[in-house]
C-alpha cells in the first residue's frame, strides 16, 4: 500500500504554538491522513520530521523562520486535501498590499460608460450566452465579432436579422479570424496593410489567402469573417451582404476576395448579384464548387492559392512548383492521409485531389468527396478542428497534442503513402506548432515510413516567425510546400508516380 508524503513550506509565516497544535490535530484527523505536523523549519525540527518519516524534498530547504506543513497519508488525494486544508486554516484574513487593482467593468454597458467610442464587441463567452451578448452590442450601436461556437442556428438567424434592420455587422459565430484597420483579431496573422479586402466564411481560409497575398508583396485593407453558416440557406448571407456594402464604400479596399464553401444556390445568386454592384474587381473562391457564371467584375478561383494570386494581379495559370525529388514510395503504400487543423485548408486539399482524379473521403466532405465513415476512398482527409474532435478539448491550433495520436497512427499504417499536415501560425495559435509536429514525427521513428508533406500558413511578422517554423519541419525530414494547395498537389504527384 503505497503511502504518500507531501510537504508545503509557508515562507516567513508566524504562528504561536497553540495555533500550530490546533491545526496539526485538525489535519491529522482528516480522512486518509496517517500523521501530520506543522512545525517551524528549524534544523532540529527538520531532524524530527525525518525521524518521523514526514519530510520530503519540498520541506528540506525550509529555514528557521518558515512554517513546514508535513503530511503522510494513505494516498495522494488525501495528502493533497490535507495540505490544502492546512493552507486554508493558515490563511488568516490578510489584506494584501500592492497596487490598486484597475477596475474592470463587469458588463458591456459599464464598459461603454468607460469607453463610449468603442466600435466592436469581440465575444468569446460560452456559446449559449454569445448571441445575447451580441444582441446587446448591436443594440448599443456596435458591430459584433462572435468567436464562440456552439451558438444555436436559430439564435444566429434571429440575431443577424435584427443586425440587418439596425444596419450592423455580425461576424461569426465561430468566426476565428478577422483583420480590421490592420489590427489582427483573435486567430489572425500579422500581414501588411494594403488594397485587398477579404470576406471569408472561414478563419483558416482568410489566414491562408491573406498570408499568400502578403508573400506576394501586397497587403490587406480588412478581412471580415462572417462565420461558417452565413451563406447557408437558413441565414441567407446577411453578414456577407453587409460586408460587401461596407467594402464597397471603403476607400482603402480597391479589390475584394470572397472565400467560402459552396453556398446554397439562391444565396450564392443573391451574393453574386450584390458583388456585381460593388464597382470593384472581385475574386470569388467557393472551395470545391464547380465552375460557375461570374458577374463582369468577378473571376472564379478554385483554390485559395489561386484566389490570392488573382487578387494581386498574378494570373492563376502560372505553373505551380513541381514536386521536388523524393524517395520512391514503397509499393504497398497507396493512401494519402490528411490531418488538418484548418477546415477550409482540408476542403482545398480535397478540391485539389478531386481535380487530380484521386478518390477522397473526409469527415467534412466537399461536393464529390465521400464521407469518412464509408471508408471507400483510398485517401482520407480529416478536419481535426471539427466539433467531434474539439468536444471538451482546445482547438488543435491551440493545443497540437490533439493531432499527435493521428500522426502516430498514420506513421504506423503500412498502407499510407503520404501524410499531409497544415501548420497555422498567428495570434492565439500555439507558440511552436512546427516544433511540436517535428517531435511527434521523430518520436514515431521507424526506418521505412510514409512521405510527410506540410505547408505553413503564416508570415515572418507572426510571433512564431514562418521561416523558423519551416526550418524545424525540414530538420525532421518533412517536405514543406509553398502553400496548402501545392502540398496537396505534391501528395497527388507522389502517389501517382
Amino acid at each position: 500500500m503505497s503511502r504518500v508524503i507531501v510537504n508545503r513550506v509557508r515562507k516567513g509565516l508566524y504562528l504561536d504554538s497553540v495555533a500550530l497544535m490546533r491545526f496539526s490535530r485538525s489535519i491529522a484527523g482528516l480522512a486518509g491522513v496517517e500523521e501530520a505536523a506543522l512545525m517551524m523549519g528549524t534544523p532540529a525540527n527538520l531532524g524530527i520530521l525525518v525521524e518521523a518519516g514526514l519530510l520530503d524534498g519540498a520541506g528540506e530547504h525550509a529555514k528557521g523562520g518558515d512554517l513546514v506543513i508535513a503530511v503522510r497519508a494513505r494516498d495522494g488525494d488525501s495528502a493533497d486535501a490535507a495540505v490544502a486544508k492546512a493552507g486554508e486554516l493558515l490563511d488568516q484574513p490578510r489584506l494584501t498590499r500592492g497596487e490598486t487593482a484597475a477596475w474592470r467593468p463587469r458588463t458591456l454597458r459599464a464598459a461603454l460608460n468607460q469607453v463610449p467610442e468603442a466600435t466592436l464587441a469581440l465575444i468569446s463567452v460560452p456559446g449559449d450566452f454569445a448571441a445575447a451578448e451580441a444582441r446587446k452590442a448591436i443594440r448599443r450601436g456596435l458591430d459584433a465579432m462572435i468567436f464562440s461556437d456552439n451558438v444555436p442556428l436559430a439564435d444566429e438567424v434571429a440575431l443577424k436579422r435584427e443586425a440587418r434592420d439596425l444596419g450592423r455587422l455580425v461576424m461569426g459565430p465561430d468566426c476565428g479570424t478577422a483583420i480590421i484597420n490592420g489590427v489582427p483579431l483573435a486567430f489572425a496573422n500579422r500581414v501588411p496593410s494594403g488594397a485587398v479586402g477579404i470576406i471569408g466564411a472561414s478563419g483558416t481560409g482568410i489566414q491562408e489567402v491573406s498570408c499568400l497575398i502578403a508573400r506576394n508583396g501586397a497587403g490587406i485593407s480588412h478581412a471580415i469573417g462572417v462565420g461558417g453558416r452565413d451563406l447557408s440557406e437558413a441565414v441567407g448571407g446577411i453578414s456577407t451582404l453587409r460586408a460587401l456594402d461596407m467594402l464597397a464604400r471603403d476607400p482603402a479596399s480597391e479589390r475584394v476576395v470572397l472565400i467560402s464553401k459552396p453556398p446554397a444556390p439562391e444565396v450564392s445568386a443573391r451574393v453574386l448579384e450584390k458583388l456585381s454592384g460593388i464597382g470593384k474587381p472581385a475574386t470569388v473562391c467557393f472551395v470545391g464548387a464547380p465552375p460557375m457564371a461570374m458577374p463582369a467584375n468577378a473571376v472564379q478561383a478554385f483554390t485559395l492559392r489561386e484566389a490570392a494570386l488573382r487578387s494581386v494581379g498574378v494570373s492563376g495559370e502560372t505553373p505551380p512548383p513541381a514536386l521536388p525529388p523524393v524517395p520512391t514510395i514503397a509499393p504497398g503504400r497507396r493512401e494519402i492521409r490528411g490531418l488538418f487543423s484548418g477546415g477550409t485548408l482540408c476542403a482545398e486539399a480535397q478540391a485539389v485531389m478531386l481535380a487530380g482524379k484521386i478518390a477522397v473521403a473526409s469527415n467534412a466532405p466537399i461536393p464529390g468527396a465521400a464521407p469518412a465513415s464509408t471508408g471507400a476512398a483510398e485517401s482520407l482527409l480529416l478536419d481535426m478542428g471539427d466539433d467531434s474532435y474539439t468536444r471538451g478539448r482546445p482547438h488543435p491550433m491551440i493545443d497540437p497534442e490533439v493531432r499527435d495520436d493521428a500522426v502516430r497512427q498514420a506513421m504506423a499504417d503500412p498502407s499510407v503513402a503520404v501524410i499531409l499536415a497544415d501548420i497555422v501560425l498567428g495570434f492565439g495559435a500555439h507558440g511552436d506548432p512546427a516544433g511540436h509536429l517535428a517531435r511527434a514525427v521523430r518520436a514515431a521513428g521507424g526506418a521505412e515510413r510514409a512521405l510527410l508533406i506540410a505547408s505553413v500558413t503564416g508570415t515572418e511578422a507572426d510571433p512564431q516567425i514562418r521561416s523558423v517554423q519551416i526550418a524545424k519541419l525540414e530538420e525532421a525530414g518533412i517536405l514543406v510546400a509553398p502553400s496548402n494547395a501545392d502540398a496537396a498537389r505534391w501528395a497527388c504527384e507522389a502517389v501517382q508516380r
Binding site: R104, P105, R106, T107, L108, R109, A110, A111, L112, Q114, V115, E117, A118, T119, L120, A121, L122, I123, S124, V125, P126, F129, A132, E133, A137, R139, R140, G141, L142, D143, F147, S148, G167, L169, I180, N181, V183, P184, L185, A186, R190, H222, M246, D250, A252, F427, G428
Partner: protein
C-alpha cells in the same frame, strides 16, 4: 440601456478600432500588444447563470 437610441451610428471601418473584449482575456492582451484600443470586460453569465432570471432580464430589456 437608457441612452440606447441616441447613440450615433459608428462605422467599424472608417475610424480607429476600439474593441470591447468579452470573454478570453488573451485576446485583449494580444490587442493591447498590437497597440489597438481595447477594454476587457470581466464577464460572468447574467444572473449567475440562472436561465429563468436571465430570460426575464432579456425580456425586460436588460
Amino acid at each position: 440601456m437608457s441612452e440606447m437610441s441616441e447613440k450615433p451610428k459608428t462605422e467599424l471601418l472608417d475610424r480607429p478600432l476600439m474593441v470591447v473584449n468579452i470573454g478570453l482575456e488573451s485576446f485583449a492582451a494580444d490587442l493591447r500588444a498590437e497597440g489597438a484600443g481595447v477594454v476587457h470586460v470581466d464577464w460572468a453569465p447574467p444572473a449567475a447563470g440562472d436561465p429563468e432570471l436571465a430570460a426575464l432580464l432579456a425580456k425586460l430589456g436588460a
